[in-house]
């Protein structure tokens, strides 16, 4: 059993003192950013990337992954106690979670949310452990035509399932792809859009763009909002759910695990979509659906499990194919690239210690998060008492120093500020920056794959229908495109689409 022997090796790596410490820091920081409105997991990950420069790649990815799934745990705390989602995947938890708090059952909601997150996260790690190596082996057969078609499907899916409509998401993808062309063309050496600026010859740095759009942009948006909230206190003995609540939670937790795992594989706002789909599924399956919205434990258990399961399965295409399907995996990819490691089909075979160390640390991290999120919930709530008026200058300074630390370049600070402003205005116009960043990261690979495929076939497009994989994927892209055009012109939207748009 290769998987188990590899996992045992992974635990040896993950159980080193340094990696346990880094996993703890990631989970702690992730929970904190999940609790604090105004800083999402994306900003949380980008802020800590510079802190990973002195670490090895294994330690770096362990810490950053801890932030990602930790934020899913932390985001539910403010949703349940204050009716304020700590991050976007916890929006739906506000509906029944806060009602439970008003009924004096907030502690039970927190417990079930943490427990569901643990189960969902653990089951999705099992899936990640089994599927990622299999998918990577399959993807080793990919040549440029297959890679181009996979990325084409990924972009069309991103447009179909993103948090905005297809026709809102795709222009952002186009802008990201265009920004990705800045710099020296890898095949001919031509300089594109550099305007004789030497800092642009290697292209625009991914880190200042991500930190600008997600860090600075979020701060600029958050400074418009008032952050005075009522905080409900919870005592430790109130955390335990009743037997009925536990019994009612099991099925939603297991359903949420499955829903979240599958949706997490898809590009787009997977953790947000998974929580909405889970909530609607629980409502449909309930004997008394009219009670949803008044404090049903199923309305907390399912969605919170689903968003954690999605965060685990989102790592599968990212690690095994090198295709980040969401903004957080995209930023983790930036971190790995900075450490000289490229996720993709060869990642697991070339860097087994990094991959299996990460898997093992995710098991450890899930256990840490249960401990952090239940008995220590009061400490995290107290973070909300730090005035945002003091917090935001510190966050801005971290963004600036983080960017400067990569190349000691004030040009990149200017890029950071530019994309912060762009991110702010794009959010104001109700568009999403995440597709732009994703496109920037994987767009160059898509262009290169297309041109390499045509070079290989001496300019013949028949190379795209010689392979069954390529034919299938291009056909799927075409069908999705047609479906999106139909969706764009029909008068009514599906309830999950309306819910996803309203979550923004």
């Amino acid at each position: 059993m290769d998987v188990f022997s590899n996992l045992a090796h992974g635990f040896q790596t993950a159980l080193s003192l340094q990696n346990i410490y880094l996993c703890f820091i990631g989970c702690l920081w992730g929970t904190m950013v999940g609790v604090l409105p105004g800083i999402g997991p994306l900003a949380g990950i980008t802020l800590l990337i510079p802190a990973t420069f002195g670490l090895d790649a294994t330690g770096a990815i362990i810490m950053l992954a801890g932030i990602y799934y930790g934020a899913m745990y932390g985001g539910s705390t403010t949703s349940i106690l204050m009716n304020v989602p700590g991050e976007s995947a916890s929006v739906v938890t506000c509906i029944d979670g806060y009602q439970m708090t008003l009924k004096g059952r907030g502690g039970a909601a927190l417990f079930i949310s943490a427990w569901g997150s643990f189960v969902g996260g653990t089951l999705s790690i099992v899936g990640l452990m089994v599927l990622a190596p299999t998918l990577a082996d399959f993807a080793m057969k990919f040549g440029p035509p297959e890679m181009f078609s996979v990325l084409l499907v990924a972009f069309v899916l991103l447009g179909s399932l993103g948090s905005g409509s297809f026709f809102r998401t795709m222009p952002m993808v186009f802008i990201g792809l265009l920004i990705g062309t800045i710099g020296m063309d890898p095949l001919t050496g031509s300089l594109r859009f550099t305007h004789n600026v030497p800092d642009l010859y290697d292209g625009i740095g991914l880190l200042p763009v991500a930190m600008g759009a997600m860090g600075v942009g979020e701060i600029l948006i958050a400074t418009e909002e008032s952050l005075l909230r009522v905080i409900h206190k919870i005592k430790l003995r109130e955390l335990l759910p009743t037997r009925d609540e536990l019994r009612a939670s099991w099925a939603p937790i297991f359903r949420g695990s499955g829903i979240g795992f599958i949706i997490g594989l898809l590009p787009g706002s997977a953790h947000v979509l998974s929580s909405f789909v889970s909530y609607m599924a629980e409502k449909r399956l309930a004997k008394r659906p009219e009670e949803f919205g008044s404090g049903r434990i199923e309305g907390v258990a399912g969605p919170e499990t689903a968003n954690n399961a999605a965060s685990g399965s989102a790592m599968i295409p990212f690690l095994s194919l090198g295709i980040p399907t969401g903004p957080a995996p995209a930023v983790m990819m930036i971190a790995l690239l900075i450490h000289g490691i490229a996720p993709g089909p060869l990642f697991i075979s070339k860097h087994p210690d990094v991959f299996w160390g990460l898997i093992a640390s995710m098991y450890i991290g899930n256990v840490m998060l249960i401990v952090l999120n239940l008995p220590l919930v009061g400490i995290f709530i107290s973070l909300l008492r730090i005035p945002f008026r003091i917090l935001f200058p510190v966050i801005l300074l971290i963004c600036l120093v983080g960017t400067y630390s990569v190349n000691s370049s004030t040009f990149e600070l200017a890029v950071l500020l530019f994309f912060g402003i762009l991110g702010y205005f794009i959010r104001k116009m109700k568009y999403d920056m995440a597709p732009l960043i994703l496109a920037m990261i994987i767009g160059p690979t898509m262009e290169l794959s297309l041109r390499q495929a045509l070079m290989r076939s001496d300019g013949s497009f028949s190379i795209f229908w010689e392979s069954s994989i390529t034919m299938t994927l291009i056909s799927v892209s075409f069908l999705l495109l047609v479906w999106n055009v139909y969706r764009g012109i029909r008068p009514t939207k599906a309830s999950w689409e309306k819910a996803l748009e309203e979550s923004k």
């Binding site: 802008i175 265009l178 935001f392």
Partner: protein
């Protein structure tokens, strides 16, 4: 000006910029695309998106509720804090290497806390200095990040 129309202007401007500069690049042949093909295709797609959203944005303006439409006074009020932050950050970037990290960051935090967060002068100075010096210690001594030294080697 609706939000969709504002977005359409962004798409149009980006598309025009992309088109103008990618036309100057080698295109190669239709079945052996050069470095200019991908950017020019994207620029055209952006122009199409921009025109579409400009038209849809105009059509949507009549249907949207009052709160979606632009009220210039509200816009200025909403933008004032982010604009202040952007302006102060731009000045920091210009002064970063000349002033050195400790001086620049302490002044940056002070101005943000005093002018944007509306704290009193003394509180802003104390917090500015603590955060500036504390962050310098954390980044340079703990994380080993090389930060600029300005006059007085600060």
């Amino acid at each position: 000006m609706t939000k969709d129309r504002a977005a359409s202007l962004l798409f149009l401007l980006t598309g025009i910029y992309g088109l103008f500069f990618s036309i100057q690049l080698p295109m190669g042949r239709w079945n052996e695309p050069g470095p200019g093909v991908f950017p020019i295709t994207l620029s055209i797609l952006l122009l199409v998106s921009g025109v579409s959203w400009f038209i849809l944005g105009k059509r949507g303006a009549g249907e949207k509720s009052q709160e979606e439409k632009a009220d210039w006074r509200d816009i200025i009020n909403t933008l004032s804090t982010p604009l202040k932050i952007v302006g102060i950050t731009a000045l920091l970037i210009l002064a970063f290497n000349r002033m050195g990290y400790i001086a620049a960051s302490s002044l940056y935090i002070f101005v943000l806390l005093f002018w944007v967060s509306r704290y009193r002068v003394i509180v802003s100075i104390l917090l500015g200095l603590s955060i500036g010096i504390g962050s310098w210690y954390f980044f340079e001594k703990v994380l080993a990040v090389q930060l600029p030294k300005g006059f007085l080697f600060l």
